[in-house]
Amino acid sequence: MRLIKVRLILLVLLTAPLGVTLLPGVEKGTDFEFTKVDLSLLEQADALDRKLEREGMVYRDEAMETYVNQVGRAMLPSGTAPERVMWQFRVVRDPMANAFALPNGSIYVTTGLISKLENEDQLAGVLAHEMTHVTDRHSYLAFRSYRKKSTIANIASTAASVAPGGSAWGDTIILAANIVVIVANASIFGYSRELEKEADMYAYNKMVEGNYDPKELVNTFRLLEKSEEVNTGKIYYNDHPKLEDRIAYMSTMISSKPPILVPPDVFAARRMKYLSLTEKVDREDIHLSILSDHPRTGLARAQKLLEFHPNSPEDLCAEADAYRSLGPWTPKPSDAEMGKHEAKKEANLEMKLTSDEEERRLLKKDEGQATWRDNQRLAEETYKKALAVDPSNAKTYLGLGQLYEKTDRGKEAIEAFEKYLELAPNALDRQRVQRRIDTLKGSANR
């Protein structure tokens, strides 16, 4: 008897923390009451804003910032900001197409998404969707639910586990999820079916009110489904609505309502404005795509830019950079690569091998070598096209120099690098380029 008593006491002592008081069921955001837990989440959101800014992840461009804010503010609900919300619309440097809203009113859109979208109507739809998560306090509700479920694995690690190397979520979301665990949910792919539907409905209404074409919201989902890469990883959780479902219910809803007719000239003007204002962001995104070893995405973006602005030397240079970075990979994945088995194999290899090792593996095959040669040839042609339009574009010479270096044309590489330094004497990477020149000259002397 005594032993049972002691064991009971020990059991109580050791398991006391498990006496979790269950949170009362919370209704959706209209009469939202902040709790201590919500305030701590808000604090983390503010900290994340500062961290993203500090670590150079926010894309700073006055014209782009003004434009995104204009489009965003036009979609805001009427009246003043909700409690503890300050609306801010920002672009974040990440090639993964995504958008997320923090509970403090900061709405982020990645450069990947901006460059993927085709017109202002789509951007308006995304922003309208995201702001519902703020006004209806979805982050707080999701965080409370998450805590209630007492899951051991936090969402960041879950995100990391379903996206090898973090590639599917994008580094911003992974970084953010470490700070504000709900952020992975807060992304455009994120919340539960009900909450996402709510946000989509709001977006639809706001788009109609704003004379935007609501069909473009459906087109946005279609664009998000597409990928230029093989391994996008599984980016959905079990209870999150897949994009196909969202396309289906939005299409059904749109067809059940009276059609919204946006005059073609108005739509075209908005599209032109969007493409023009986002051109610089797109080029930054191409650079980021290449940096994160996604040159196929970079190439697709560059080709989209050139459709709009065929004789732009900067855009031609960006396309050439993408071709050069492709190496032995084809511009688009083959059907075989897209097959489930191959994709899984590719994902495993991506986890194990560095990008140089992967490249060397492909170059061992004849097809790889042939593709490599084609890509370098296309890159060279495109660089030369860029120079024909603007012979003073420094970046083109840099790219050309790197190409010649890669294809063992040392003398031409030296000339191109020297020309780059002549045109951009204060470039941040002048030391790096000078070192390359010295190395090439050294090899030539030997």
Binding site: A74, E83, R84, M272
Partner: protein, 349 residues
């Protein structure tokens, strides 16, 4: 006489002898070469003639094929190739213009906009048909915020290059900037003499105001701002257009302009809690939290029953780190809101 005639004849003969070899040195034509080959003259001999006389045409691959079919040998083909008349280098008429554009781009990159404009204009003089030159000149004017000239140049660019989507986009942007510029410039107000508003101008002001409201509904915010500005100009003692214009500026992310518009409205109607609240929100959006709080304080003093003012003030205090003050304001806002909802519910009953 006879001797003169003889000399003349000799001279003529000499001329003829001199001229003849020269006339026989005329370059061979296409047809002459073909005739010779078809006439079964040896290819080597024709080749010698080609080398001696040259040719006055640029033989094409088709011509060579025809010659080969007629029996010509490679020696003749080689001779014809070697004898191709050398064309003078074609002067690129746009080379100078391209140089100017290159120079202008560099200057623009270093911030010398005036220098760039001068060079773009030179380039256009050299190559007036170049739409790209006009487009770049327009952009340079845009950098100086000379939107009207930006528009003119972009129009020319589009005319010259109708398929260039970038030029069309620049034109669209330039037009919007012109509209926005009209927003930024307050309508000039007569300083000394204030014309008493007459019925016509008041009526027109009302019409402009209504038009502005329609434009807001259509989300044509720039146009709406202009309509409200016109209404305000016609009826200077009427604060409503100024308030509506400020709201439109808020939509356009033009917080300073919104604040300025609210300032003008408040001058006309100093103790209006709604306008003070709205200006406070403009300050809040522009991250000027203390000024926002000052406005909310005043709005609350004038009308303590407005939940929005408390909520806004709470938000501004929150941003300044006054969490206790913010919480108190949020509580008050909720209490007022629930009181208002209770009132509405009882009215419905």
């Amino acid at each position: 006489m006879k001797s003169c005639l003889l000399v003349l004849m000799l001279l003529l003969l000499a001329l003829g002898l001199v001229a003849a070899p020269q006339s026989s040195k005329k370059p061979l034509t296409k047809d002459q070469v073909m005739e010779l080959v078809k006439g079964s003259v040896n290819s080597a001999e024709v080749a010698n003639l080609v080398r001696e006389h040259g040719i006055d045409f640029d033989p094409t691959e088709d011509y060579f094929q025809a010659l080969r079919s007629a029996g010509a040998e490679q020696a003749l083909i080689d001779a014809l190739n070697a004898a191709r008349p050398v064309k003078p280098p074609v002067q690129d008429p746009t080379a100078q213009a391209k140089q100017h554009i290159k120079g202008a781009n560099s200057l623009l990159g270093t911030g010398d906009i005036d220098g760039a404009i001068a060079l773009y204009q030179k380039a256009i003089q050299e190559n007036p048909g170049d739409g790209e030159g006009h487009r770049l000149l327009g952009i340079a004017f845009g950098k100086k915020k000379d939107w009207q000239r930006d528009v003119s140049e972009q129009r020319l660019a589009v005319l010259l290059n109708p398929d260039d989507a970038a030029a069309k986009a620049e034109l669209t942007l330039a037009l919007q900037n012109v509209a926005a510029e009209q927003i930024h410039t307050d309508p000039p107000r007569p300083a000394a003499v204030v014309k008493p508003p007459n019925d016509d101008s008041a009526e027109q002001a009302r019409k402009d105001f209504a038009q502005g409201q329609t434009e807001v509904a259509q989300r044509k915010f720039e146009a709406a701002a202009i309509s409200f500005s016109e209404a305000a100009q016609l009826k200077p003692d009427w604060p409503d257009p100024l308030v509506e214009r400020a709201k439109v500026y808020m939509k356009l992310y033009l917080f300073q302009e919104a604040i300025h518009s609210y300032d003008q409205a408040i001058q006309l109607k100093p103790n209006d809690p709604v306008t003070l609240d709205l200006r406070g929100y403009a300050y809040y959006s522009a991250s000027k939290f203390q000024q926002a709080i000052n406005d909310f304080d005043q709005a609350i003093r004038l009308d303590p029953s407005r939940a929005e003012a408390f909520q806004n003030r709470g938000n501004a205090k929150w941003q300044l780190g006054d969490k206790i003050g913010a919480n108190a304001d949020f509580e008050q806002a909720k209490a007022l809101e629930s009181g208002t909802s209770a009132q509405r519910k009882s009215k419905r009953r």
